[in-house]
Each structure stands twice: as structure tokens, then as C-alpha cells.
Symmetry: C3
């Protein structure tokens, strides 16, 4: 679970947009973008809860048909979703103090991820 | 679960935008924005189902590390997500007749919430 | 689970927008929009997992109060959400190779669905 907030804020600043929205999107079908308080306890709780509800081990057709192991990651990513849209006010992300934009990678192998940030105003 | 539709429609009207999108976002990491049919049964079902899947009581690291009680609210909010984007046509939110924009507050103490609405067209 | 990617790409092309975002939204409160690898195994896994977590059969107030049968569909749709926002680069949806925009219809009767696509750039 990676905190994207500073990186997105920095893209926003270089755009010069003062009022509008920022759209954050992760390409790939085993990771998701959402917002949360990015602290170690909450990160572990989110992962553990999703693992309890959608366990890595199970009877998954995606794994069977494709000789794969990460069906659980696909399901979690589809439910959480790949995009969030955040308002911009006075050149700042208008979020809560204890709220961060995060990338959650659900895959079971190391992946290099790129997040796409679009600023509109 | 608060119905935001009329308030968002009213912001939209004062913007004068006829075609585009409205982005709705809740600051804070224990509430979420989504859409649903806002009627008492559906509201109770949504809350009861999420409480069954992510119970308030449980072994949560966020609660343990921060001497807190609302880890379940953080998890639910991260899964449902803080933002939705709704299309605008002819100055109206282009939603279903029995579909409302809603704020779902998962926290276990009373909170004052502000929802941020951005109109782009 | 319907793959929307080609249709959305075609709307995008007719808009002439080269850089910006596409917002995809489904009116109605028993269907959702998300992204996933659209292949038979993953589609079945997503449906089966959500059916396990939020079964069609159950004690639902929406069903009792409205003499209805699709409360589970309302809950699933509210959790997955009705909208996604996808970045546009050089006139193309900037998504992963194995990632498609999909409509997931959770209802238990046949429904005709319209998806609203807005392009901003």
C-alpha cells in the first residue's frame, strides 16, 4: 500500500491548475486506487480483511483456466476499483488531514506499477 | 446514509454547466460516497451486510496501535471509496430515477461532514 | 459482465479529445462499472465471490418492504460503484493491456442498460 498523495500533489502543482479535479488511475487489473489513513495498523487491517473475505487460496476459475495463482488479486482490484477523483482548491488536493491517496497492489508477485494522474480545471 | 442528490443538483445549477461531469468527494477516511436507491430497506441492508462482512468488533491493528475503535469504518470506507463521478446532460445529473448519490458515514461517533462538489463542462 | 472498452474508445475517438479523461457511469442502482481482465474465468470468479459474500437469498429489508428479490444486487452495486474515470493519452484510453472497462449487472431479471460516457480534455 503506497501513499500517492505527495506525488499527485506535485503533478498538480506543475500543472498550475488552481480549481478543478485530479483523476488518479492505475493501469493493470490486480491493483487498485483508493483513499485511506495511511498508517501501519490501517494498512494491515485492510489487507487482512480483504484476505479473509477473498482468500488467495480457493477454487478460482481464473487460476484453473490460465494456470495462474492471482485470481484473488483480480477480484479485490475489481471491487475496490482502479480510479479515484479528488477535488482541487487553491492548487491543493482538497482531502482530509488523515486521508491519503493510496495504491493497493493485490498481486502475489512483485510488479512495477505506474499511476496515471490527470489534472482538469 | 445521507441523500446528496438534491444538494449536488443545486450546485450544478448554480454553475450553469449544461454538459460535463460532476465529481463528488468526501474528505475523511471513515466515510464514503456511492450511489444507491435511497430507501429505508436498502439503507439498512447495506449497513447490515457491511457490518456482517467487516464487523466493528474484531482483532484490528489500527484499534490496537492507536487505542481506537473505528478500524472497521476505515476498512469499509476504503473499499467503497470516497468519490463518484456523475455525467451532466442538459444541466441535470444523468442518473437513474431510483438512483441517488449518497454519503455513507461508517464512523462510530457523530461526525460533521462536508462533501466537495466540482462541476466540469 | 459486458466489456465496454471498445465502445468507450469509439466515443472517445469521435470526440477528438487527445488528452484528458473519460468518465463512464451506469444509471440504475443494480449495476456497476469497474475495470478487470475480461476473460471467462475472472468473470465467473468475480460473480461467484460476490454471491458468496452477499447471497441472493437472505434476510433483506429491501426485499421485505418492497416485496422484491434483488436486494443483494443493490448492495453489490453500491459497493462496487457506478462510475470509473479513465485517463486519455494521445486519443487512447490509457489502460493496461489486460484491463477492460466492464459493466457488471447484478440484477436477477433481464434489464436493458445504457452507459453514459463523458469525455473531458
Amino acid at each position: 500500500v503506497i501513499d500517492l498523495t505527495e506525488g499527485v500533489q506535485s503533478v498538480l502543482e506543475s500543472s498550475g491548475v488552481e480549481n478543478g479535479i485530479v483523476s488518479v488511475f492505475v493501469p493493470g487489473s490486480t491493483a487498485a486506487v483508493t483513499a485511506m489513513e495511511h498508517e501501519p495498523g490501517g494498512v494491515r487491517d485492510l489487507r487482512a480483511t480483504l484476505e479473509r473475505l477473498v482468500p488467495a487460496e480457493g477454487e478460482y476459475e481464473h487460476n484453473r483456466l490460465n494456470n495462474d495463482t492471482n485470481s484473488h488479486a483480480h477480484i479485490k482490484a475489481a471491487v475496490v476499483g482502479p480510479s479515484e477523483t479528488v477535488p482541487v482548491r487553491d492548487g491543493r488536493l482538497d482531502m482530509g488531514t488523515w486521508q491519503q491517496l493510496v495504491l493497493v497492489d493485490f498481486d502475489d508477485r512483485p510488479r512495477q506499477r505506474t499511476v496515471v494522474v490527470q489534472v482538469l480545471g
